[in-house]
């Protein structure tokens, strides 16, 4: 009993530790990446006792320190209680969603089987959407409590945008849920360990011969859903090209104009934690989660017959490493996107969400349903 | 194990609080929110009975109540917006054009 609670606590601590540190690291990656794209050096001013050589470490320490030593300003006519509550509301959902994302298969430790996932809920992905839908409160309440017209505009824009894109986000995932037939993320990740030729029916002989060697990852089974999910997830994190709630050139800094110091740091960390969560979800739903292609629980089994047996610990390490690598890749992709494309206009954001993503997602759900039904009747 | 009666008493209290909100407040948005509170109290009874009877029917009905509540909130808020455009006020006391 005690040992079980201890194991869960260790897993929860590990995941929180990784997400928060990755969020901090991404702050540096974003500054360096933007400098790289804009052909300047960037983020090289932080020095500890005149030593500026280790840019990463120095910036990682200097950025939070600078935030925390600033004055914590609350607008005199604002709402002090809600102004303080808002950053907590922004950070909380971003941190708790990672609890159901699996970062590995099972780990056998003695006679104990440890599921490498903090909480295995049978409502899995719905929990993620439920917590993600709470993320809008941090933005809206912070905007309102500042009692500033720019933040109010940002808050109104933000709430409309997040509600609109939540619909497309939810609908794009339904295809994946139908294909793998479960809401549990660990089961979805396990389902992606199969090969395509095991899923395709006998009648599709040509497809089995040509692409049958591919792993049954979500991206191969639901490519349209991935594009929709990626777009909607970027819109949910409220970053360029969807950063309408902040829009520096229009609304000063939008919903967090009146935030400074530690509270702004919490908003900032929340945004990066959301990026990490979005990357984790993309990995788990569409890119096999912790799966390494052809890696089973006892080693590699290639489709052409060869196999390499590996010890259990090596397999687990490979899986966790693959998950980390994929998550880092998608974090990097989101940061690259931010410094590459310009911001949408507000009417364009609404049009994209309601008139393009939503109908395409609905059609995708319909077609997936028909194909799944057909395959159930013609195995 | 928490007895069924505790949940029923709790939901009766919440329902009564919601009714009080509808009775005393002169702000349409808060009146709508009090109605949501009453619906939630009823949902709590449904779930409590579903648990004690071991039947899923109560949970399914809560599902439908949520759908109806969403429809009600959407229409209610649309009416609030259009009323506010005409009267610049959310006070139901001021909506007395048909009162003679």
């Amino acid at each position: 009993m005690i040992v079980d609670i201890g194991i869960v606590a260790i897993k929860a601590f590990l995941v929180l530790f990784m997400v928060l540190n990755l969020a901090g690291l991404l702050g540096w990656v974003e500054r360096k990446g933007s400098a790289l794209i804009q052909d300047r050096i960037g983020a090289n001013r932080a020095s500890i006792f005149g030593f500026a050589g280790m840019g990463l470490v120095n910036t990682l320490i200097a950025d939070p320190l600078k935030f925390l030593t600033k004055e914590d300003f609350v607008p005199p006519s604002g709402d002090r209680f809600l102004h303080t509550l808002a950053p907590c509301l922004a950070l909380f959902p971003a941190l708790v969603t990672f609890a159901v994302i699996p970062f590995g298969d099972v780990l056998y430790l003695g006679d104990r089987v440890i599921n490498l996932q903090v909480a295995n809920l049978n409502v899995g992905i719905l929990y993620i959407f439920a917590m993600g839908s709470l993320g809008v409160y941090g933005l809206v309440i912070g905007a309102w409590a500042s009692n500033n017209k720019f933040s109010l505009l940002g808050g109104v824009r933000g709430s409309a945008q997040m509600i609109s894109y939540e619909v497309a986000l939810g609908l794009s995932v339904i295809g994946i849920l139908m294909v793998y037939g479960t809401l549990e993320l660990q089961e979805i990740a396990r389902g992606q360990g199969a090969l395509l030729r095991e899923l395709l029916p006998e009648s599709a002989g040509f497809l089995r011969a040509t692409v049958g060697w591919l792993p049954a990852w979500g991206i191969f089974l639901q490519p349209v859903a991935f594009l929709l999910f990626f777009t909607a997830a970027v819109a949910e994190t409220k970053r360029i090209p969807f950063d309408l709630p902040e829009a520096e050139s229009e609304l000063v800094a939008g919903s967090h104009v009146e935030y400074s110091g530690g509270k702004f740091l919490m908003f900032f960390a929340g945004e990066f934690a959301e990026i990490v969560t979005a990357a984790g979800l993309m990995t788990t739903l569409f890119f096999g989660g912790w799966q390494v292609p052809y890696l089973m629980r006892d080693g590699f089994h290639f489709p052409w017959g060869a196999s390499i047996l590996l010890p259990h610990v090596a397999v687990v390490l490979l899986q966790v490493g693959a998950f980390t690598f994929k998550v880092l890749f998608f974090c990097w992709l989101q940061i690259l996107l931010r410094w590459t494309v310009p911001r949408f206009r507000y009417d364009q954001v609404m049009r994209l969400g309601w008139k393009m993503l939503l109908p395409v997602a609905l059609v995708n759900v319909m077609i997936t349903a028909l194909v799944v039904l057909y395959m159930q009747h013609n195995p | 194990m928490v007895p069924l009666d505790y949940y029923l008493i709790l939901s009766a209290i919440i329902f009564a609080i919601g009714v009080v909100g509808v009775l005393i407040r002169r702000n349409l948005i808060i009146v709508l929110m009090s109605i949501e509170l009453m619906l939630n109290a009823v949902n709590l009874t449904f779930i409590a009975f579903a648990n004690s009877l071991g039947s899923m029917d109560g949970q399914v009905i809560v599902f439908f109540v949520m759908a109806v509540a969403a429809a009600e909130a959407v229409i209610g808020l649309a009416i609030v917006i259009s009323v506010f455009r005409h009267r610049q006020s959310l006070d139901p006391q001021e909506m007395q054009l048909l009162k003679w």
């Binding site: 839908s133 | 928490v2 919440i14 948005i29 071991g54």
Partner: protein, 164 residues
């Protein structure tokens, strides 16, 4: 009194306090946030009653969508000025509420439902069980609910659209 009951009393106390906040706060945004807290607590109570699926839907639909809509409208209209606190009228309302609660409690607790809950199976309250009920015994209500939502969408657009 065991651990589950202590947990229930803590949740119930918080729920009653936040519901009172919803009703007696003069500031609309404070009321709305108190309601969000109340909905969250109700969702946790659902979890204690073996209804994880409905609990998650409660957060997703109520806290995630309906209340955001409320906040959006509050900000959109941005009504200035707090409602007056008419003590006599509010006192009468509170009295009526107490009477109602006093009348409801004996009626609800008199039912003939079994007082000792049936031991729940592993799947009870999960997505599979809910879906099975929804698509076998309740297909017709389910379809009617979808039409209701469609009507609500159309109605909202018609009502809130500004005349050109």
């Amino acid at each position: 009194m065991n651990g589950a009951q202590v947990g229930f009393f803590i949740l119930a106390g918080l729920l009653i306090v936040s519901s009172l906040w919803v009703v007696f706060q003069r500031n609309v945004v404070h009321s709305a946030m108190a309601l969000v807290a109340a909905l969250f607590l109700v969702a946790i109570l659902f979890l204690t009653l073996n209804a994880p699926m409905v609990g998650v839907l409660q957060i997703l639909v109520y806290a995630g969508a309906i209340m955001v809509l409320f906040l959006f409208v509050i900000m959109f209209l941005n009504p200035i000025g707090l409602e007056q606190r008419r003590r006599l009228w509010w006192g009468f309302g509170a009295l009526a509420g107490l009477l109602l609660a006093g009348a409801l409690v004996p009626v609800l607790t008199n039912g003939d439902a079994p007082r000792d809950p049936v031991v729940a199976t592993e799947l009870f309250g999960g997505p599979e069980e809910l879906a099975r009920s929804l698509f076998t015994d309740f297909v017709l209500p389910f379809e009617i609910a979808s039409i209701l939502l469609l009507v609500a969408i159309v109605g909202a657009v018609v009502l809130a659209k500004r005349e050109p």
